[in-house]
Amino acid sequence: MKYKFYPNTYDYSKIKVIGEEEFLNLMIKYRNDFELFLSKIINFKSIDAFIYSLGGSIPAVNDIEYNFYHKYSSLGSNYIFLRNNIHIENLSDEEINVIRSSINNKKVLDNEFLMNTYKRVLYEDGDYTMFGIPMKKNMVPSKAIVFELSYDQKKLTQVSQLKVIDKAKEMVDNFIKEEIKKRLDTDIYLLVYNAIPDIYNSNTVVSGE
C-alpha cells in the first residue's frame, strides 16, 4: 500500500527519512491516543444525538474512507472530526521512539507525553492556516486544536436545513470550547465542511493501492 502526503504544511524531507508508511502509522497512533484523551473530556457521540435533536435531518458524510481525517477517526462521531494535521516530524527522535514502542507494546501514550507534545504536533506555522480553499471561512488560527463539523450538503433537500446547520455550528462550537478549555490551555476552532468540493477526498493524506 502506498501513502501520499499532500498537505503543504508537512516537512516532506523528514517524512522521507522516517519512511512514509511508518510515518502514517505514527500519525495514526498519535492521533488515536490524543483523541482518546479528548474523548475523556467530551463524549463526541453525544454531539450526534444533539444534532439529531435539532431536527432538519442533517446528512453526515457517510463514506468512512472519505479522507485521512475521517478514516482514522476514533472520536465515534459521524459529524465531528479532529482536523489538525499530525506533524510527527516536529518531534525529537527520542519522542518518536516513545510512539514506536507504544505501538509495539500496544500501550496508550500517557497524558504527560501528550501534554508535552500536542502543541508541536498539531499546531501549524504562522498565525493562520488555510484548511481548504482560500476563503475566510477556511482560515483557521494556526495555534489551535481544530475540529471539523462535516455534513453532506449535496444531500440536503431544503434550503431551510442550512439554518439548522448554522445553529448546530454555534452550539457545538460553544460547547467544545468551554469543555476543552477547562482542561487544556489552547485555542479551539470549529471548521464547517459541507463536502463541496471534495477537495480533501483525494488531496489530503490518502491511502491508495
Partner: protein, 453 residues
C-alpha cells in the same frame, strides 16, 4: 502615517488544489517543449512570440489612445538613447580588442589602459558611463510605471481593482447565492448581483432545485480562481471599450456593472460563473456535484472552450503560455528578477488590451490588501513593511491576474479580491523541495473584437 502592527500575520496553506493544472501549449515558433526563461525573453525581443489562435479568426487591433501613443514615443526616445550607448560601447570594445589582440581577456572595471582609452573616446569615465546607462534604464522603468498607473487611473481598472475589493472573488458567488436563497438581507447592489447569478444558474440548469442552485455556486467557488482571474481581464477589456456595457448586456446577457452613488460595481463574479456554467452546460447537476468532478481551469480550457465562448459572443482572445523551467539556472535568475519583470512590464505596457495570468503551484504571496481575507483593519501603506511577515506561504495550484509590478520587480496580482505581491523567486525555491509539484507559468492574453460583428 502608517503603523506597523506588531502582530503581523503569517498565513500558510494546510490544503491545496483549488484550480489550475498544468497543460503545456505551443510556445515559441518551432518549439513545443518547456522553454527556459531566456528563450522566452529572447523570443519576445526578436518578435518570435506567436499566439495560439486555434480558430484563426480575422481580428482587428484595438486602436491606440493618445496616451498610449505619447507613452510609446516617450519610451522609444529613451530606448533609442540606451541602444545608441550600447552600440557605441560595443563598437568601442570591438575596435579596442582588434587593436590589442582579439583573444585577450580584460577586466573592464580595473584595466587601466582600457579605462583610459574609454574616457578619451566617451568623454566620461567608464563608471560615469555605467551610471548614465543605469539612469536611462531607471527612466524607462519610471515611464513604464507611470504609464501603467495612468492606464489604471483612466480605465475600468480603477473600478475593478479597488482597495478592499481588488478584483473578483470566487467566494462571493457561494456567499451571495446562499445568502439570497436563504432570504438574508443584502444591500441593493449585492441583491441585484445575487439575482443575476441565480438566474444565470437557472438559465443553464432549468431543472435545478433551490438546493442545487446553492450547491452549484459552491462547486464553482471551489474551482473558480482561473475563471475569476480571466473575468477580471475580460471585464476590464469590456469596461475600456466604448460600447462594452451594451455588448455585455447583448451578448453575455447581464449588466457589465451596477452603479450605486458614484461607485461602479463590476459583475466580475457573474462573468466568471457564466464561463463556468457555459463550459459544463451539457452535464447534469448531479455530475457537477459528483466528488470526482474537476471544474478547474487549465490553459487548454482557455485555448478551446473559453475561446469558443468568446467567439459565440463576437470576441476573440489570442493567447500564449510560457511554462518556466524551474530546474534550469535561468529560473534561478528569477531571484534577481531582471528578465522576469522586464518581460511582464514590456508586455503589459506595450500591447493594448493584453493581460497576463500567473499560474503557479507552491509559491508565496505577500499580502498588500487582504480583500476577503481581511483579518483586521490596517493601513494599506503597510505594504512596504511586508518582508517582515504577512506572507501567505506555499500556496497550492492557483491562477492570478497580474495588475502591476512593484519597484523591486515582483508582479502584483489580484486574488480572492485582495492585492498581493507574487514573490517571484518562491516557486524556484519550492522546486528544490518538491520538484514534481512546484510549477510556474505566465499566460498571455490579448482580447479583440471579431471583425464584422
Amino acid at each position: 502615517m502608517s503603523m506597523i502592527n506588531s502582530s503581523s500575520k503569517k498565513i500558510s496553506l494546510g490544503n491545496h488544489d483549488f484550480g489550475t493544472s498544468g497543460n503545456y501549449g505551443k510556445i515559441i515558433k518551432g518549439k513545443n517543449t518547456t522553454v527556459t526563461f531566456n528563450d522566452f525573453y529572447e523570443a519576445q525581443q526578436t518578435e518570435e512570440l506567436v499566439f495560439d489562435d486555434p480558430n484563426k479568426n480575422e481580428t482587428i487591433e484595438p486602436s491606440k489612445s493618445d496616451v498610449e501613443i505619447a507613452y510609446e514615443r516617450q519610451r522609444s526616445e529613451v530606448k533609442l538613447k540606451i541602444d545608441a550607448l550600447n552600440a557605441k560601447y560595443d563598437s568601442f570594445v570591438n575596435s579596442y580588442l582588434e587593436a590589442n589582440g582579439n583573444n585577450m581577456e580584460i577586466d573592464v572595471t580595473s584595466d587601466s589602459k582600457f579605462l583610459e582609452e574609454f574616457s578619451k573616446a566617451f568623454n566620461m569615465s567608464y563608471e560615469e558611463f555605467q551610471k548614465s546607462l543605469e539612469e536611462l534604464q531607471s527612466d524607462l522603468r519610471l515611464i513604464d510605471a507611470a504609464f501603467m498607473a495612468n492606464v489604471f487611473k483612466n480605465s475600468s481598472a480603477k473600478d475593478i481593482f479597488k482597495k478592499g475589493a481588488y478584483g473578483g472573488n470566487q467566494g462571493n458567488v457561494a456567499n451571495l447565492v446562499s445568502a439570497y436563497m436563504q432570504g438574508y438581507n443584502l444591500d441593493a447592489v449585492k441583491t441585484k448581483q445575487a439575482i443575476d447569478m441565480v438566474n444565470m444558474i437557472k438559465k443553464y440548469f432549468p431543472y435545478a432545485t433551490d438546493m442545487d442552485v446553492i450547491n452549484i455556486s459552491e462547486a464553482f467557488t471551489s474551482s473558480g480562481c482561473g475563471y475569476v482571474a480571466m473575468s477580471n481581464a475580460l471585464c476590464m477589456f469590456l469596461g475600456n471599450m466604448e460600447n462594452g456595457s451594451e455588448l455585455c448586456k447583448e451578448k453575455f446577457g447581464f449588466d457589465l456593472y451596477y452603479v450605486e452613488g458614484e461607485e461602479k460595481f463590476y459583475n466580475i463574479e457573474n462573468m466568471a460563473l457564466t464561463m463556468f456554467l457555459d463550459r459544463f452546460k451539457d452535464l447534469d447537476t448531479s455530475a457537477i456535484l459528483d466528488p470526482t468532478f474537476a471544474g478547474g481551469t487549465s490553459y487548454s480550457y482557455y485555448v478551446s472552450e473559453f475561446n469558443d465562448f468568446l467567439h459565440e459572443r463576437g470576441l476573440n482572445c489570442a493567447m500564449s503560455r510560457f511554462p518556466i523551467d524551474l530546474s534550469s539556472t535561468d529560473a534561478m535568475d528569477i531571484y534577481g528578477l531582471p528578465s522576469f519583470s522586464k518581460v511582464l512590464q514590456e508586455y503589459m505596457t506595450y500591447y493594448s488590451g493584453s493581460y497576463v495570468l500567473i499560474s503557479s503551484e507552491h509559491f508565496d504571496l505577500a499580502v498588500m490588501d487582504e480583500g476577503d481575507l481581511k483579518v483586521e483593519s490596517r493601513d494599506s501603506a503597510l505594504s512596504n513593511a511586508l518582508p517582515n511577515g504577512n506572507v501567505m506561504q506555499n500556496v497550492g495550484g492557483h491562477a492570478m491576474l497580474v495588475t502591476g509590478i512593484d519597484q523591486s520587480g515582483n508582479p502584483i496580482v489580484s486574488s480572492w479580491s485582495g492585492e498581493y505581491r507574487f514573490i517571484a523567486e518562491s516557486p524556484a525555491r519550492y522546486f528544490q523541495q518538491k520538484p514534481d509539484e512546484a510549477r510556474l507559468a505566465l499566460e498571455f492574453f490579448q482580447f479583440s473584437i471579431i471583425e464584422g460583428e
